[in-house]
């Protein structure tokens, strides 16, 4: 289970690494929930291809599918996106703060080198 979080992140980022899947998410975000056929409509790919993308998104926890009669409805699941965003924000803070100190250190080294006439 130690690995669960890391694997989950991999799944999310891998799922988001495809432009069609991002477009699907963007479309779902605008529409809240859609049937699979309505969702597939604007895409120039076959319905089975769309279904495959939906499988990847569902495995990554980025969407939820529910069946109403013969219609499968798809909606976005924001938890996984939040996991991905938390990762990005956490490390952005980490590196941003590190680089502040790196800059200070390198700049003092530069001043030192100049004083020595290099």
């Amino acid at each position: 289970m130690v690995n669960y979080h890391a694997h989950r992140l991999d799944g999310i980022f891998a799922a988001l690494g495809d432009p069609t899947r991002r477009a699907i998410l963007a479309r779902l975000k605008r529409k809240d929930s859609l049937s699979v056929s309505a969702l597939a409509e604007p895409f120039a790919i076959t319905l089975p291809a769309v279904m495959k993308h939906l499988d990847v998104l569902a495995r990554a926890g980025l969407i939820r599918r529910s069946k109403h009669g013969r219609t499968v409805t798809v909606e976005i699941a924001t938890d996984s996106l939040k996991t991905a965003m938390d990762w990005l924000q956490r490390y952005e803070r980490f590196w941003s703060s590190s680089l502040d100190r790196l800059a200070k250190y390198a700049e003092s080294k530069e001043a030192e080198a100049r004083r020595k006439g290099h």
Partner: protein, 149 residues
């Protein structure tokens, strides 16, 4: 594939920034999330050479990360793998990240670009296009705005 990308302009020449990035003395001066000291740093600056950094955070805890230099082009580029050995993010303990540091000489010194990629699987990292993170960031920001609105 997603990553954190940060660009910084530093008033020091690339050779000096490069030394600061990858020598033990340099690493001691900067690695870590706050102003608390780095406790120990080692760096064997050659391809497949290892580095290790232990630092303390404001909560009194010590954290250790370690990795390997994957690419060294003096004074332009360093690529390294790294992961948490202790402390840090326990949930990510077994995940190996990839850190790229690109240096470019500019009139005022060096433009440094840091790219930290989340994926630890080398094969899937290669299979995915780099650099679409701007789109992801935008997407995620939209969600954030939606949630907080």
């Amino acid at each position: 594939m997603s990553n954190v990308t940060i660009v910084r302009c530093i008033a020091a020449r690339p050779a000096i920034v490069f030394e600061a990035l990858a020598t033990p003395e340099g690493l001691m001066s900067w690695w870590g999330p706050d102003d608390l000291p780095v406790v120990a740093a080692t760096a064997d600056l050659r391809v497949r050479g290892r580095f290790q950094v232990r630092f303390r955070t404001a909560d009194g805890l010590e954290h250790e990360c370690a990795g390997q230099f994957l690419e060294i082009v003096r004074p332009e580029r360093i690529v390294m793998s790294w992961q948490w050995i202790s402390g840090g993010e326990p949930r990510e303990r077994e995940a190996v990240s990839r850190l790229e540091l690109h240096l470019r000489a500019i009139e005022t010194g060096t433009e440094l670009t840091l790219v930290h990629a989340a994926l630890h699987d080398e094969a899937s990292a290669r299979n995915h296009e780099w650099g679409w993170n701007g789109a992801l960031d935008k997407l995620l920001r939209n969600f954030d705005e939606t949630r907080t609105a």
